[in-house]
């Protein structure tokens, strides 16, 4: 049998396509199928509002950080060059470097802010990832598949919020308290806050929000009656570095109640 160049290329193309399709097919037993927890078709649009009125003592911040880091087996590494963080605090100046004028009230500028992955609408990290290990889901969560991360750290360079940490050392010996229902990461991968996507998709509350005593609210922006939508409609909020166009979905309530140090009950 003889085959011309054109015929060979056609055959090779079909074989490649068939192989690709076979690889992409999901495996299930006879008669088995995959589905979502609630069977819902419509994706939500997750967002977080951090109500700075509820964060007044060091303890207010620490219990939120501990709840997250314990649940997700985030290693505690003293060497700052190797540290891994999912949720942490920083100064006003570092959180909102674009809020530059010098006559802002001290109640605002002297206050630590809680930082975490902003679950951007237009995330630079996913755009630069060469292996599609990090990607944005339809519900707005920027997820990461550690199985696929090759540790190139492009996403760390891309992220304008410093939300990503690289595992320079094996994290396992540095996990102080193991949650045996959640994995760790391994040396050589980048990790970050996953917005408790595994819990949201099972209808469970987000860890930091549950521990915050109402200071952190997670909800659906598509629903105008959700608590996040109502808080955003009622309060003056900031997002981090909006001029970069990443369109973050973590909002900070910083209106006059925060400045006056008053606490108003919401909802």
């Amino acid at each position: 049998m003889t085959m011309d160049r054109r015929g060979f290329l056609k055959l090779a193309g079909f074989i490649g396509l068939a192989a690709g399709t076979a690889c992409a097919r999901r495996v299930a037993g006879p008669g088995s199928r995959y589905t979502t927890v609630d069977g819902a078709e419509d994706a939500k649009r997750w967002a977080m509002v951090i109500d700075m009125r509820r964060f007044n003592t060091a303890e207010d911040y620490q219990r939120v950080i501990d709840a997250c880091h314990k649940a997700h087996n985030v290693p505690h590494i003293d060497n700052v060059r190797h540290e891994v963080k999912w949720i942490w605090t920083d100064t006003f100046e570092h959180t909102f470097p674009d809020q530059t004028h010098t006559r802002l009230p001290e109640a605002l500028t002297e206050r630590p802010f809680l930082l975490l992955c902003n679950q951007c609408d237009n995330p630079p990290c996913t755009r630069v990832c060469p292996t599609d290990a990090t990607y944005r889901l339809a519900d707005g969560i920027v997820a990461q598949d550690y199985h696929r991360c090759i540790g190139c750290r492009f996403c760390m360079a891309g992220c304008p919020y410093g939300a990503r940490s690289f595992n320079w050392v094996d994290p396992r010996p540095h996990v102080d308290h193991v949650n045996p229902e959640f994995p760790t990461r391994n040396i050589g991968v980048v990790e970050k806050c996953n917005f408790c996507v595994d819990r949201l998709e099972r209808g469970l509350p987000v860890r930091c929000a549950a521990a915050s005593g109402g200071g952190i609210v997670v909800g659906d922006l598509n629903d105008p009656d959700s608590e996040v939508s109502r808080l955003l409609a009622r309060h003056y909020t900031l997002t981090r570095k909006p001029q970069l166009g990443a369109r973050p979905n973590v909002f900070y309530i910083v209106d006059e109640d925060v400045v006056r140090g008053e606490e108003e009950h919401v909802g």
Binding site: V27, G29, P30, E201
Partner: protein, 136 residues
């Protein structure tokens, strides 16, 4: 022919080296013992059925695990419904290892025999090992 003896000796030594794994196995190889299902959760089950039939699981578990990973992480599908209509939470550590809480006898025994080194354990814990060894 000159040097035939030396040549034959060299050939014999060559074949000895090539065959050495088989020769060693003739003496030392142990019969393969399959995985054991002797865990508290499985003992308590009335009909000891995994999510799919035993033969299917034995052939396909590695691909099923990859599909579970992709379904949960990429497509937000967190539930697997099998042919009997039973719903399972897509979770290695809660669902799979919840019943198969004997990593050494269930996973490692076969993987060592087959000389495969899955990298699951670099990140995933075997919950019973966390309980036994403190946590590391």
């Amino acid at each position: 022919m000159q040097g035939t003896g030396k040549n034959l000796a060299a050939v014999a030594i060559f074949f000895l080296i090539i065959a050495s794994p088989h020769l060693i196995n003739l003496v030392y190889a142990k019969a393969w013992t399959g995985p054991t299902e002797d865990t508290p959760r499985i003992r308590a089950m009335a009909d000891k059925e995994c999510i799919e039939s035993e033969g299917w699981m034995r052939r396909n578990h590695m691909n099923l695990l990859l599909s579970w990973r992709d379904a949960a992480l990429r497509d937000t599908d967190r539930i697997y419904v099998n042919g009997r209509g039973e719903r399972y939470d897509i979770s290695l550590m809660r669902t799979c290892l919840g019943c198969h809480s004997n990593r050494e006898e269930f996973c490692d025994r076969c993987h060592e025999f087959a000389a495969v080194e899955p990298y699951c354990w670099q990140c995933h814990y075997a919950p019973e090992q966390v309980a036994k060894e403190g946590w590391r």
